[in-house]
Symmetry: C2
Subunit: 356 residues, 2 copies
């Protein structure tokens, strides 16, 4: 394995998105030169070529980020980016991400997520860039067979939505790629529920339409954009009857990517290695609501409703492998997750469109 490359150039696909844009900050702080490609499908466009999220990152870091408005499905333009820069690694965030939507337009999801990834891997191969950090999801575990969920938990069983399946398929393709060529080294990061925002309050999640995840939803109720929240619960076998999930602060998640990159620079490992990225702590929906209410000093109206069929009571991970292998662990508390989300939404109630 060629470990001598001194390149500090990192390509972030989908780097204008929520997780991608936050990850740029600790990457720059760690001395990496960041190149972003994004098709801007979900991004709020700023002045000039760059999306607002990237402009905000540049303000926060005082550094320029090289940006290309490119779609992963465009093999030729993608190749040209690899011709221009010698990358040490690619962090692959790009993809369509809404679970509900994915079931309505499955072909779009598979084309963008799966075929986009295959294109990227082929271009990487052609340019001899064989180190990759891949944004996977804890949803590949489906309904947990045991808790906490370790990386050895079965994956791919009874997956119901297309988004989850697309992530599972890409993991499978990565595994085959690594089996076929021992020079590849891929760290697959299985995120749990990423929430929060940069502590400056100037960078955060900018979802399209009504949010489908809990924290942005709670925040929208707190800020008065949505009246009330339906909470699945009463009958879960959890501390208060509502579902328990494992939340991770976006900046902890961002730093996890830097740790993965550092590992790739230092280690002679190869193959595909899957790692849970979260805190390992579960919080119930009511605990999240109460904490959010406390930090925002807003009443958050909610109504307890019956759980839908197949609703999972409790899901949280064993985060010990990330600590052991990457030397990384999440540091930020639920309180900080709520505080930073609230600061972001107070400053940018309309998300990035506030700034334009």
């Amino acid at each position: 394995m060629d470990n001598t490359s001194k390149s500090k150039f990192v390509l972030l696909t989908g780097g204008a998105g929520y997780i991608g844009s936050h990850t740029i900050i600790p990457l720059i702080e760690s001395g990496y030169e960041v190149v972003v490609i994004d098709n801007l499908f979900n991004a709020c466009k700023g002045e000039g070529e760059k999306p607002v999220s990237i402009l905000q990152v540049e303000k926060l870091t005082g550094k320029q980020v090289t940006f290309y408005a490119i779609d992963l499905l465009d093999y030729i333009l993608l190749s040209e980016v690899f011709d221009k820069h010698e990358f040490c690694c690619v962090i692959h965030f790009a993809g369509l991400k809404y679970s509900n939507e994915s079931c309505n337009i499955p072909l779009n999801y598979y084309k963008v997520n799966v075929c986009g990834s295959i294109n990227l891997f082929q271009v990487m191969m052609e340019h001899n860039v064989k180190r990759l950090v891949f944004s996977s999801s804890s949803t590949v575990y489906s309904e947990p067979h045991f808790l906490p969920i370790t990386e050895l938990h079965p994956v791919g069983q009874s997956l119901v939505n297309v988004y989850d399946k697309s992530k599972y398929y890409i993991e499978g393709i990565i595994q085959d790629l690594c089996n076929s060529d021992k020079e590849w080294f891929v760290i697959i990061l299985r995120y749990f529920n990423s929430v929060g925002a940069h502590s400056s309050g100037t960078l955060g999640e900018d979802p399209n339409g009504t949010p489908s995840n809990l924290m942005p939803y709670v925040a929208q109720v707190a800020v008065g954009k949505i009246q009330s929240l339906n909470v699945f619960g009463k009958h879960c076998s959890t501390i208060d009857g509502t579902g328990v999930r494992d939340y991770i602060h976006i900046m902890d998640l961002a730093e996890g990517h830097v740790s993965a990159l550092e590992k790739m620079q230092k280690s002679n490992d190869s193959g595909a290695i899957a790692i849970n990225l979260s805190t390992g702590n579960g919080y119930s929906v009511l605990q999240v609501i109460n904490m959010f209410s406390q930090v925002s000093k807003q009443e958050i109206k909610y109504e307890i409703v019956d759980c839908p069929n197949g609703y999972c009571d409790s899901s949280y991970c064993d985060a010990s492998f990330a600590k052991e292998y990457l030397g990384w662990e999440a540091k930020r508390t639920l309180k900080e997750m709520c505080e930073d989300t609230w600061r972001w939404l107070s400053l940018y109630p309309q998300g990035f469109s506030t700034t334009t």
Copy 2:
């Protein structure tokens, strides 16, 4: 569901290949107008535009087959074919098909098989053609948990090669497509081991390089192109210690596709329905060798060697659902499979390149 279309035009992707070309014959005999697209990646080219397999079919049937040398990954050219013809149905054979090769070049396999299928389905959707027969494989079942294998047998577990995984992924995508749009009606045919040739001896399997399946291999030994055969065995818990598989005559398989098409024309069903296509009878490797030796009157040299790790002793299907749902069952015997293979190889010892 629009069941009023009187179009008898059927599109066959990969229609120049082994299964595709044989399927054209009973389709034409049943009154269908056949349009073939094929990228000719595995096909022997004839005079003019058409591959030899298609020219042979035209001789056998006395009918012209419309042919386009098009790759499924070419969205625009594929769309133009759908603009030109109003198809009642697509039979999707196209794909890379060599298990061993698939593990060496996984990205090529996933791109051609998975992304090619996604492209096809998108073009079909745009042209409101929502009836599909898909060539899947019994290999999606992996090592059988029980015998005979019914369609309810688990799929996708512990798949080891990329070809098998690509078929499993496409089945998953088809399922999601049918869930998202109730107008789709897809029959997924899970083939077991297709062997034999057209009884005329002028159309058969024309594999590239050394064959990896038993029957073509045995035939090559009989014809003197290969000296001897390694047979996994001694210790299988089968009739003679060698592996048992379920073989189906290519013309039976071809007729199964016509039955699937007839079902689609007559039925108001929708959704994705998987069907085993084979005889339901298992034959051991030695039984196949002995039968082939008997019909060819050639000695077939073989050596019994240890089974590789994970070698499956026995695999055969429950073929009753095909009979019940399609009104189809395989009729041809192992003897006919061997006779027809032998006739084809005697007439065309170099495959189709004999004719050029």
